[in-house]
Structures are given as structure tokens and as C-alpha cells.
Amino acid sequence: MNPLDTLMWLVNFPAAHGYAMVFIAAFSILGLFAVSARGTTGGGSLRAVREREGLVPAGTRSRGSIGGSVVRVFFRVLAFVMLGSLIIGILSLTGVPVTRAYIFENGRPTTGTVDGDWVTFTAADGTEYTLESDFFTPAVYPDRDAWLPSGAPVVVRYLPSHPQAFVIDSSQIPD
């Protein structure tokens, strides 16, 4: 289990779903950063005034602040993940092989078939995977725009530890 493989498998998700990811990230990133900012969770200023005057109601102090900061940290992490997904999605949509090149270099080759957007191949452990190669972000490398005949066999390269990260080898497409 190679850590770089795991990272590429995770990064490959926004790269493979670039079109949807760009929409999701663009519409949510503002809200995520707003929620993770201090003071927007209600009652922050009221708590500050109460602490200054020494009139914090018993029992609310620890619970309120710990819960609030956990939520804030969670949303801050999510916000940066979303920002990364937005960047990866845009790169992937514009044709940059963010993860494809790595998968191509380090993937294990096998043969698969293409049916529309769906690619079916059998991994070394015998499991048959049916995965999507999106129209907007096709999992095809090195020639992203290569035409794939539907139903024809193709060479697929996948990461052995995470076969969900795969590319179709466009250099070995039969003419």
C-alpha cells in the first residue's frame, strides 16, 4: 500500500468528477469559509461580553465553546478540501492530466471494454470493476481526446491498491 497511490486515488475523485465538482465547490466554498470563520456561530459576541462581566451562566461555557470550535475546525478542513477539489476539477476539465499521468506510469495493465461512458475491466484479484469515464473529464491518457470504439477491447491501467483510479491507454487503441 503505497501512500502516493492512496493520495492519487483520493485526488483522482475530483479529477474524474471535475464537471460536478466545479459546480459543488463553487457554490459551497463561500458558505464553508463563512461557517468556519470565527464569530459567525450565533452568540459569540454575547459570550464575550458575558465573560468580560463575569456573568457566564453555569454549564454553558465549556459545552458551547468546544462544540463550536469542533464544528469550525471541521468546516475549515472541508473548506480547504473543497478549494483543492475546485482547483483539481478546473485543471482536469481543461485537460491537465493531474492524476492520469501518474496512474499511467504506475498502473497495472489489463484489458477492458468500453460501453458508452462506462469502462469494465477485471483486476488481478478477479473483481470486475465497472467505472465511469466522464465525457468532460475522460480517463484517457496520453491522448485525452482519442476516439474509443464502443464495445471494443482497450488497455486499462489501474493502481493495484485502488483500482477505482484507472486510465485508458490511448497509445494502444486498435485502429
Binding site: H17, T40, E53, P57, E128
Partner: protein, 263 residues
């Protein structure tokens, strides 16, 4: 209620997206999805649901601050609070700025607490409200986060304020009968002298007043009154004030600065 519905919807959408990501990362046959609305091309569902999720997060979250509840929940008591802090929220409506007022309330039973009041205040109102100033408030001890300003022209509010002063000893027990059931007549301050006693941020003055009912011979009476420091100047020698007395005991007098509407 609306916020609860929006939260539930947002959580459902979050769950949908988590399952979608999970299927994308771990799914073996990703053509089959357990999710509703997952179309075969794999685009429509995630986009619509993700955008709805993001919009709910953005606007549901930022509007909860604006739509802060202003009403006191449950049965409200009337009391006196002092302004602890005033800060602008940054929002203006028709060029009238919105303020957060933090008010320290001393309930008739229990400990002091600080509540919040968010309201629009134009320049005149802001001048009239200052830190440390007492204001009549409506509050509920079980819901100390929110307080409302009480309307002093409401007779029940005046009654409660008077009761609050009596409970706190701000009206001398010997004057209570005159103050609550006596007749109100014009009077003037003849002598004023501080007694040195302070209570609830008010200081006590010993007064000699000339009680002058219309069409009757005036007489002098001694009394005491607790006033806020800001009001001391209105009790200088010669100042016109109002006095309450009972016919059977015209030398027990309670005074007020402003005339009280007839009960």
C-alpha cells in the same frame, strides 16, 4: 421551524453527497448506485444536489445571524436593565444602523444575567442610550439570551417598574403608601442634600419640598428619594417636581421628577 426544516434538508443532502463520494472512491460496479436521483450519465444528480447543498450552507448559515429571534420566549417579566455595551452590527436599513445592545438585567429573583437586543437605532436614539443607562426591559429568566425593551407608556410596565423600585428598597417603606395610593400635586425643591447611601447605582438625596396643591395653602415636608446620577440635576433647589401624599398624613411625601399619568 423553518430553520429546523432547512437543517434537516441540508443534512439529507450532505448524506447523499457523502454516499456519492464513498461510491466513487470504493464502488466496484459504479453503474449501480444505491442513491436516488443518480442519473445514468452521472452528472445531473450530483450537480443539482451539490449546488443546493452549497446554497443552503451559504445562505442558510449567513441568514441565521440576521434572522435572530427578537421576541422573548415564554412568559415575560418586566424589570430594569442597564446597558453594558453597544456595538454596531454593520447592517443598515434605510441608512438607519443596526446595533447590538447587551443589557445586564437584575431579575427580582435569581442572579443577574446579560441578554442581547438587536435593533435599529437612528442617531437620536443612540444619543439617548448610553452605556450604564437603565432601561425598562421585558425578560424571561429561563431564556436569558434575549431581552426586549419595554414600553414605558404601557401602564403595566410602569406598575412593574414601581414594584421593582419598592422591592429594591429604592422607595422608602414609609413612603410606599403615599407613593402608590396618594394624590399627585405639584411641588418644588427647597433644600437638597445627599445622604451618602447608594443602592442599585442610584444615590439617595434628602429633600425638603414645598408641596403646593392648587387652591390650597402650600406646606413644607421632608422626604428622601433615590435617583440615578444623571437625574440629580433635575432636583436642584427650585426645581419643579411632583409629590404624592395622603390626606390623612400630608407630611409623608414621595416625590417624582416627572408627572405620572393618572391611575
Amino acid at each position: 421551524m423553518l430553520r429546523i426544516i432547512l437543517t434537516v434538508v441540508w443534512l439529507l443532502l450532505s448524506a447523499w453527497l457523502v454516499v456519492w463520494v464513498g461510491e466513487g472512491l470504493f464502488g466496484v460496479n459504479q453503474r449501480e448506485s444505491i442513491l436516488p436521483f443518480a442519473s445514468d450519465d452521472g452528472l445531473g444528480g450530483p450537480i443539482v444536489i451539490g449546488v443546493a447543498w452549497g446554497l443552503l450552507l451559504t445562505f442558510g448559515g449567513s441568514m441565521s445571524g440576521l434572522a435572530r429571534r427578537k421576541k422573548v420566549r415564554g412568559p415575560a417579566q418586566i424589570g430594569v436593565g442597564t446597558v453594558v455595551e453597544m456595538s454596531r452590527t454593520g447592517v443598515t436599513v434605510n441608512d438607519v444602523p443596526q446595533y447590538d445592545l447587551f443589557i445586564r438585567v437584575s431579575p427580582s429573583v435569581g442572579d443577574d444575567f446579560i441578554g442581547q437586543l438587536r435593533m435599529l437605532l437612528d442617531a437620536g436614539d443612540v444619543g439617548a442610550l448610553q452605556v450604564g443607562q437603565p432601561v425598562p426591559v421585558r425578560y424571561n429568566v429561563d431564556d436569558p439570551d434575549t431581552v426586549e425593551l419595554a414600553d414605558l407608556s404601557d401602564p403595566s410596565v410602569r406598575e412593574a417598574m414601581l414594584q421593582w423600585r419598592i422591592d429594591r428598597g429604592l422607595i422608602d417603606p414609609s413612603q410606599v403608601r403615599a407613593r402608590t395610593t396618594g394624590t399627585q400635586v405639584p411641588a418644588s425643591v427647597v433644600e437638597v442634600r445627599p445622604t451618602g447611601r447608594r443602592r442599585e447605582g442610584q444615590s439617595e438625596l434628602a429633600l425638603k419640598v414645598l408641596v403646593a396643591p392648587e387652591g390650597a395653602e402650600p406646606w413644607e415636608a421632608d422626604t428622601t428619594v433615590f435617583v440615578y446620577p444623571q437625574a440629580v440635576s433635575r432636583l436642584q433647589v427650585g426645581a419643579p417636581i411632583w409629590a404624592f401624599y395622603r390626606r390623612e398624613d400630608p407630611h409623608t411625601v414621595a416625590v417624582t421628577i416627572e408627572k405620572e399619568p393618572a391611575r
